[in-house]
Symmetry: D2
């Protein structure tokens, strides 16, 4: 039984993490820190926890258990301060923000507009994408959990770029996300009346996640990947679907594509590639920790279309964090994680 | 051509009123007052007005045109101050708030918790429910526009109570409203993620509209009506559907019910009663100024079930205001108003 | 490990049952019968099962395993034929249809319009509402699983009627259900364009579940309960919220109500009563096997308003079936069942 | 007053056309033909027409009025038979199907898989995109109304290609449509439970509209345009948003782009281009006959991103048909058409 503490427990990612952990047989939640709601019970804020054991929301001050495993579900920028001291005290840490996701902190500073004040810890952080880095995650005390758009995009493109099946130039990622991706916000733009029955692109053409996707994919490709990433807001609560366009290298067949995915994901418990011409839909993954990928070839234009789907709160955030947690603690990678989407 | 000014132009009711007036052949919008957005253009806030002639949002200070017809789309309480001075200056006024809807200001003060500071003007205000008071509306300079829940409920019950077909005791109104009924609000409770796929009752058992419904129905009934009104929040933007339960008087037949509705609504251009056993749905009315009413009898329990539907922003607010405006200005009652719901 | 077979595996209830069982540690699914899709794989119909072990959909003919526990997820009427032969062969059976839910088969025949051809088996069936009949369920080989509207309504009213706190006369149940309650249907009335943004009442005033609710509540009350039940269709996929109106007996206090619920549900793992004046919302229960109940008193009208919520596919169908399955097999009642709603 | 007949009156496009025409001051609806519902009233199928004058749904046989203007709202393929005889009898006709949209009937035959049996009439048909062909529309008796995806895409790209600002190679149109685009269908795939909260791509990579977009854009470009068009199904009823990616020619500035749009659309009553970096959203257009276009430049990748929005039932179908009708009958182009989107 691992003692766990969560900092930032009442954002949507924190609450989803607590929901997943409540069904995890190897976890005991020790401390739930919420700056906004310290002094209240978790179920005062999220009534779905009423049937669970009461959990007090606390100030961040004071000691965690010495052996607590700590999840940081803080807004970007705040983990820079929080992570180093926790690591120094010997806690194992998973950070779900963007603060430690870059090899090159210059890129972080440029796209986030924040000076990176924890470069040493940054160099120790493992990028927690288990499909590629599970061995590193198993050995580290500090995992930086990739973002939702990023996970969805990288899992779709990494095998194709590493195997040289598509050009690293001219890639377009047209991504669509549910509203929980924006977090728990009192903003008019995310109110029901402004969002329901609506659809829009946003942060065009320089959404932050562009840079995270590019840095990772450049490593897979061995070449500089410079791509266009266009996020859109879907009138649904959960789920990301990315439609990805890339130029196929000469002579590449659907069989080559399928083989590349098979090479990297044959044993991945949560990443599933559909047969050629079958494309996944949001409802195939929402509620689960899965990423589902499908592809289609357009001989007329020489392009491949890859469709990749995840639940942004699970595989795109809290679920992937639990997957990394399992690896860091010697549990089976899938322990406590939902494998079957809700569908309905 | 009537010159019109609107105070409170950027709330949802104000914006809907401007949308309706933009299609009204007898109206020229002169001034649009918005405390929150003075200095901006209307289309900065509501981009759907981009194709229309630009409209500046202004401070409330300074003069209106001498002959401006003024619509007050202010929150409850603010019309108490605004209406008297406008009336004194000779403007015709329609107030869409709750401030002048009661004959008995004690009831207002009790349910709204606000002292009524304009009792004289209150005594002059006509209750703008054209199905019953169109003659009075035609003659007045000051109309108080009924609320959305209220209109939907009163139109369903008034003929039955006036004709003595149902008991004035034990009435239950179980009403469900779309989210625009709450107005343009930056509140977490009305955010997409908290409202979509959800459903809840609220303000149980003492929602303010209870008192407005009771005062009006008591006049129709000739007896004190004390009823239970339970509003719910539907995950839709527009529309109210009220399911109303009342005890039938001995021996009342469906034909009696149909005849009572026919008696009062045969010539009403926007209130339509379906044949016995046909019940209206939200999509039959949303987008139009109509109220649709259907009923069913339950001999087992001695009750009648009446279902009444409106679009809360149109017949429940801005559309009914235009209907009253037409009456006050000698236009045809239906001028510029949508008669056919969107359905899709 | 209990071997399980499911007949009617590809309706929404069957699919939800398979989803729940896939996370149940004591179950091995042996056979999945689907008349419509025999010969296909489960994931051909429900792609969310792709990450699971493949499951063949089969014809109903041929033998089940001798010790298979059988769930019947058939339309009303078809279980009358299927259940008796299974029971005769010694299978334990849970039937999720309405066919064996009545003590008095005359009521069934009248409200369903089907002759009851299995009266002997009917007399053996236990009504599977574990909050009241868990001891009987533990001992039986044949459980009839209550319906979704029924479970939601009975759990709200049974303690109040048994304790004599409300009148058995004049009860109104105004219920609202998500669209999955209608099942997997190719009907225009349930198409997206006809259902989204819409809301309507249906089957007024004689929906079949009225009779099931009345028969059960009459037993709790000791008096004939004749009530009005009005279902509505919500534009959501899952969830039932029932707003229930009853006349309070003289002098009954909120404390009396709370005490009555406490008396019956203090140890119920899935039925939770909120403190006086707190009312549950759909999102507090959807995704879980919980029923949440809240109440409010209206002294002005002498009525109590009870709001009761469930997930129609879980506590209202497949989840309650698993709860009964657990009891019939000596498992902990909660094994494999989701206790925390999704909320988002 | 023009007498109008509609063939295919009860599909979603036919019903929307009737709704728009009911508010058109220059139209008298003479005959409404519905194969499926002949003998019924329009309001039996679409209850939103209840407040309107009753309209009988009729068989197609028998004569239209000699001077009837005829709208064909038939499925693809059926207009091939219907249009020629109507034209021969001297009716003016607007066809809303794909049957007469191609200059080159070989393309039609290849992409629709139907032999084109009315090539003579096809050569007479004017492509009814008023932004470019209003003069031709004014003079013709036979207009072929462009499709929804097509209108949305062509209006966004035509000025840029004609002015040589973007490459005709490598264009990607990632389009998202509401469910009404699929028509009035009793199909499981379009049921509420399968569509709500879902999102998916479909008909990848060879949706029929690809060929219509390419033929038109090739004429604007003067070069062969071969592009990738990927439609997706949004969980909304109405609206199309297309996110379009194209390679900018060397040195092209945002000012060049704005000028190109200005050149073609300065006087277009329904096509509106936002200032650089402002992107339209669905709710800016749904309910109106407008097309709104915005664009953003990505210097890093050398691409332009154009976002174009329409209401698929209005500017994408029935509204554009009324716009063409106005031109063909000497009315003002905007007569009877909604200019302000609903927004809420």
């Amino acid at each position: 039984m691992v003692n766990v503490s969560i900092i930032g427990a009442t954002g949507y990612v924190g609450a989803e993490l607590l929901r997943l952990l409540s069904a995890h047989p190897g976890v005991q939640v020790n401390k739930a820190v919420s700056k906004s709601f310290a002094g209240k019970k978790l179920h005062d804020i999220y009534a779905n926890f009423l049937p669970e054991k009461e959990l007090d929301l606390q100030e961040g001050d004071g000691a965690f258990g010495a052996d607590d495993f700590v999840f940081l579900c803080l807004p970007h920028g705040q983990s820079l301060a929080a992570a180093p001291s926790l690591l120094k005290k010997g806690h194992k840490v998973i950070d779900l923000s963007g603060d430690f996701r870059y090899d090159n902190t210059d890129i972080y500073e440029k796209w986030y507009g924040i000076p990176h004040s924890a470069k040493e810890e940054n160099s120790e952080a493992v990028y927690g994408l288990p499909e590629f880095f599970s061995e590193e995650v198993k050995k580290t005390n500090f995992t930086s959990n990739p973002g939702c758009y990023t996970t969805t995009s990288i899992l779709a493109l990494a095998p194709l770029l590493r195997e040289g099946l598509v050009s690293e130039k001219g890639i377009v990622i047209d991504a669509k996300s549910g509203v929980t991706g924006a977090g728990r916000k009192e903003k008019l733009a995310f109110s029901y009346c402004e969002t329901a029955d609506n659809f829009k692109a946003y942060s065009v053409p320089m959404h932050r996640h562009t840079s995270e996707i590019e840095e990772q994919l450049s490593k897979f490709s061995g070449k500089d990947v410079c791509l266009l990433f266009t996020p859109h807001l879907l009138p649904v609560k959960r789920g990301i679907l990315a439609t990805i366009y890339a130029d196929l290298m000469e002579g590449v067949t659907p069989g080559d594509i399928a083989a590349a995915y098979e090479k990297y994901y044959a044993d991945a418990p949560f990443t599933h590639v559909l047969p050629h011409s079958k494309l996944p839909e949001l409802k195939y993954v929402v509620g689960s920790n899965n990423c589902m990928i499908g592809f289609e070839i357009s001989p007329r234009t020489g392009k491949i279309i890859v469709v990749s789907c995840t639940d942004n709160l699970i595989k795109g955030a809290a679920g992937q964090a639990v997957q990394n947690f399992n690896l860091m603690n010697g549990f089976d990678e899938t322990l406590g994680l939902p494998r079957t989407a809700w569908y309905l």
